[in-house]
């Protein structure tokens, strides 16, 4: 026995002080590495885009300048970008909650569309004074988005239907439902519809989000809601027992169960929460006014999918998601100006996609690096 205690004291270290310092250094080194990786990948991507645009007869300089003009430089541009980033960020937050619990919700697009439809219904069909109408219409978006995800949760936890499949397929059903709603005047269709496509009833003035004017830019109050959600999600995940249990569940469901985490309660809640946020994002997108003043079948315009991408690119980190949401919004608003440069629209789409890809590469590189190191240690 004595030999063991000798071994132990020889190897023992002061765990607190030394460990913290080295941990912080390692963290800084990792952050530095990631910043470098992003810079490198974006540089490579920009060069490839420049070559592509030049060889197809366009001017690379004008293309990049148009992207910056559209997203930041031209009057009112960054306000527009921030407002566009709002629903992306809200979708991403819910996605992060689900992902942390080990749940893969990829049906945000449908949850968002139904959320927007619910908002449109309440805003155009219910008669209430201003702020109350807006609040109720956004709440309706949350409820409907949450219920839509709850369908997948019920299938997942009673019949073991993988949520990856159910949430995805529910997107198409959601789309069919809203299309149907747009054919009935008692649901979503405008009472006076002059166009050949079926459009929704225009929202009343009180159904729009109030705006903030800032240096000639207009931002909706939705931004405040989105940031508040980000803070709450970030804090809950990292600092509370609920967040801890959720992470435990995502990382090792059996250990979590043994420690008293109910997979059904926590996993189901995480999936429903991601539906609620996606629904709310739909409500914010509609009432934010960028997509027009009324509900249409195509209004979700990939906000749900892109919000999912934002969560993936942010590697499930709340703070990083703010940056990623802004970058995605900038690509959306910026590409609106590309058409004016005379570059073929398809080339402009390739440019946009290449920039998105450049953001996808660094997390993949990091995962690869960790993997390599992991096996190195194991051997």
């Amino acid at each position: 026995m004595s030999a063991v205690s000798v071994d132990a004291s020889a190897g023992a270290r002061e765990p607190s002080a030394v460990g913290n310092a080295s941990g912080r250094n390692a963290k800084m080194a990792r952050t530095g590495w990631m910043v470098g990786a992003y810079a490198g990948c974006i540089a490579v991507s920009l060069s490839l885009c420049a070559i592509l645009v030049s060889t197809t007869g366009g001017s690379a300089a004008r293309v990049f300048s148009a992207l910056v003009d559209g997203s930041l430089r031209s009057p009112g541009a960054w306000g527009l970008t921030i407002t566009t980033a709002t629903p992306l960020l809200v979708v991403a937050m819910g996605t992060i909650v689900a992902a942390k619990a080990g749940i893969t919700n990829i049906g945000q697009e449908g949850q968002l569309l139904l959320g927007a439809a619910a908002t449109a219904y309440v805003a155009t069909r219910v008669d209430l004074p201003g702020p109350l109408l807006l609040t109720l219409s956004l709440l309706a978006a949350c409820v409907v988005g949450g219920l839509w995800a709850a369908l997948a949760a019920v299938m997942r936890f009673t019949r073991q239907v993988p949520e990856v499949i159910s949430t995805l397929l529910l997107v198409y059903i959601a789309s069919q439902i809203t299309t149907f709603g747009l054919t009935k005047k008692w649901l979503l269709l405008a009472r006076v519809n002059k166009t050949r496509t079926n459009n929704g009833e225009p929202l009343p003035a009180s159904g729009h989000l109030p705006v903030i004017h800032l240096f000639g830019n207009t931002i909706t109050w939705g931004v405040v809601i989105a940031l508040a959600i980000t803070v709450i999600v970030g804090f809950t995940l990292s600092r509370t027992t609920i967040g801890f249990r959720l992470r435990m569940l995502g990382l090792n469901a059996r250990t979590a169960r043994r420690a008293g985490v109910s997979v059904v309660a926590f996993g189901g809640a995480a999936l429903v929460i991601s539906g609620i946020t996606a629904g709310l994002a739909g409500g914010l997108w509609l009432t934010g006014g960028i997509a027009g003043d009324r509900f249409t079948g195509a209004m979700s315009s990939n906000i749900g999918w892109q919000g999912l991408l934002v969560a993936l690119l942010a590697r499930e980190r709340a703070r990083l998601a703010i940056v990623m949401a802004f970058v995605f919004a900038a690509l959306r608003t910026g590409s609106g100006f590309l058409a004016a440069t005379g570059v073929d629209r398809r080339i402009a789409d390739v440019v946009q996609a290449m920039l998105v890809l450049s953001l996808l590469v660094p997390p993949a590189l990091e995962a690869l690096r960790n993997h390599r190191r992991g096996t190195g240690v194991a051997a």
Binding site: M1, A3, V4, D7, A8, G11, A12, R13, P15, S16, V18, G19, N20, S22, G23, R239, T240, T241, I242, F244, R245, R247, M248, L251, N252, R254, T255, A256, R257, R258, A259, G260, V261, S262, V263, G374, G376, V377, A379
Partner: protein
């Protein structure tokens, strides 16, 4: 001592074969000669300048602790790993073994510790798997049957592997290996999942292969008994180096143990680690005679008066295919008592461990902890009722590799470091530092990822967490599997200490030696049932062996 040796003789095959000893005296040309083999992994030297000679007609034991380098050496021999330095001669000519196919062409084969059989296929299909020729069922079955008969390896060629016991699976592995008529065979820890009777049978097959057919066998093991009873000569490895080589006839258990560990060892406390039943039983018997100062003996007499802390009643768990994983199983543990649940792997131990961690749905039965019935299907209920668990596979249900050490130390105990649902990071860290010191956990910091710790330290984290929750009962399932001797000693001491403090301990282990060293009472599980029970004072190895094999005794 003498009566104990008889028990062991029944357990392991008698080695003193006249032909073998004759061969032993003669210096035949080696069939394999490994010279100056070195293999490094980064800073770690797995094999350091190792020489090894294997001779035809002899069983050569390679003895060492976990991580001593014996598996690496054998993997080099069969081409799974390339050495950094050194040469290999086979039958006198230098060779480069770049992959297992080359090894196979040279007549070298290995029977792995973890079987590589395709469960869904039948025995004959597994045996011919990988043969380039056209499949012919009748022909293949006949060949399997011929091999079965020649070596006394009884197995039905048409049986599906799923239905076979561990011992039968090993027979299939051996047939698969012998079918190619290898001249040199490596057995890697072959008895880890076998009953004593099956081990005995294995050793008699080894004898036949070696003596009658002049093949070369290397037997890799960390069990002293196995080496002493089945080999002709032995090479002992420690920390990647050969520390001793000798003829088995001149070896003694304590001498081997000392070479293996590198210091004089008290076989009483390390017997579990070293796998020497002989020393354990010797101690048990002597302690039964004079019980002065022997905790185990004292406990046996005092335990019955203590309250029952764990009462598992008539639990039945039925798998999807209708197979009964646990079959009306009942077991009780008193406060301060160590109950050893012995059994061959795969007889329901894992299910019992999972059941007590709320991970399995029981079809019937109840679990009573400290007098109160517990809803076993509610997540965390057993943990809250005072059941601590060191699970069989800590990565599966004992820890979260991607969380920090500090976080892993509080998994089920969040209330201790949180106020109104908000975690107190300072408290988390303080608690972690305390436990790391108390349980001697070696980690860079409390914030280091669990993944970055060594197996022994991960196990200490699990132990620290479970014991710091003041459990009424601690389930320790294979608590020392994969750990080195130091870590095993530590774990054994902690379990004894916990029992002395009044915690009831259920030790689930497939290592009979471990059960015998630690337990006050031994229960035997077979096919999901408790088939027998004996207290430490009336330990009967022969009966125990029969029970393990599922025979009523």
């Amino acid at each position: 001592m003498t009566s104990a040796s008889e028990g062991v003789a029944a357990w392991a095959a008698a080695p003193s074969d006249p032909v073998a000893s004759q061969l032993h005296g003669r210096s035949s040309a080696p069939s394999v000669r490994l010279q100056r083999i070195t293999k490094r992994y980064g800073q770690v030297v797995a094999c350091d300048d190792v020489d090894l000679e294997l001779h035809p007609g002899r069983i050569h034991g390679v003895l060492g602790e976990n991580g001593a380098g014996k598996s690496t050496l054998m993997k080099i021999l069969i081409g799974l790993i390339q050495p950094d330095e050194g040469t290999i001669d086979v039958h006198g000519s230098p060779v480069r073994i770049t992959d297992p196919i080359t090894a196979s062409d040279l007549g070298i084969a290995m029977v792995h510790q973890h079987y590589s059989l395709v469960e869904q296929l039948t025995v004959w299909e597994n045996v011919v798997l990988g043969e380039p020729t056209k499949l012919n069922r009748a022909d293949a079955c006949a060949r399997v049957a011929a091999l079965s008969e020649r070596y006394g390896l009884d197995v039905d060629p048409l049986a599906s592997v799923t239905r076979l016991t561990a011992g039968q699976r090993q027979r299939v592995e051996i047939i698969k290996c012998l079918r190619r008529e290898p001249r040199i065979i490596v057995f890697d820890e072959p008895t880890s999942v076998l009953t004593p009777a099956e081990s005995e049978q294995l050793f008699s097959v080894l004898r036949r292969v070696v003596v009658d057919e002049g093949r070369t066998v290397a037997l890799v093991s960390h069990k002293l008994d196995e080496i002493l009873h089945a080999t002709d000569e032995v090479t002992i490895m420690r920390r990647g180096r050969v520390v001793d080589r000798l003829s088995t006839s001149t070896a003694t258990a304590s001498g081997l143990a000392q070479s293996m560990v590198g210091r004089p060892v008290s076989l009483r406390s390390e017997a579990a680690a070293l796998g020497s039943i002989e020393t354990i039983t010797a101690n048990v018997l002597s302690s039964a005679v004079d019980d002065a100062g022997n905790t185990a003996a004292v406990l046996t007499t005092t335990v019955p008066s203590r309250p029952v802390v764990l009462d598992v009643r008539n639990i039945t768990v039925i798998a999807k295919d209708g197979h009964r994983l646990l079959d009306d199983l009942s077991i009780t543990v008193h406060a301060g008592e160590i109950v050893g649940l012995a059994g061959v792997e795969g007889n329901g131990q894992r299910t019992l461990g999972d059941l007590l961690a709320s991970l399995v749905h029981a079809d019937s039965g109840t679990v009573i902890v400290d007098g109160a019935a517990v809803d076993i299907h509610r997540p965390g209920a057993l943990s809250a009722a005072g059941v601590g668990i060191i699970p069989e596979d800590r990565h599966d249900s004992g820890c979260v590799l991607d969380l920090s050490v500090a976080e892993n130390l509080v998994l089920a105990d969040l209330a201790k470091v949180a106020k109104r649902g908000v975690l107190n990071r300072k408290a988390l860290e303080v608690r972690a530092v305390e436990l790391m010191q108390a349980f001697d956990i070696q980690a860079r910091s409390p914030h280091a990822a669990m993944r970055s710790l060594s197996g022994g330290n991960q196990q200490r984290v699990v132990l620290a967490r479970e014991l710091s929750a003041n459990p009424k009962i601690l389930i320790a399932a294979q608590p020392t599997r994969g750990l080195d001797v130091g870590a095993i000693e530590y774990m054994s001491e902690r379990l004894r200490q916990a029992a002395a403090d009044g915690v009831g301990i259920l030790l689930i282990s497939t290592e009979l030696e471990e059960v015998l060293t630690l337990a006050d009472r031994v229960c035997v599980i077979h096919a999901g049932k408790i088939v027998g029970e004996m207290s430490r004072s009336d330990l009967d190895l022969e009966r125990l062996g029969l029970l393990l094999g599922g025979m009523a005794a």
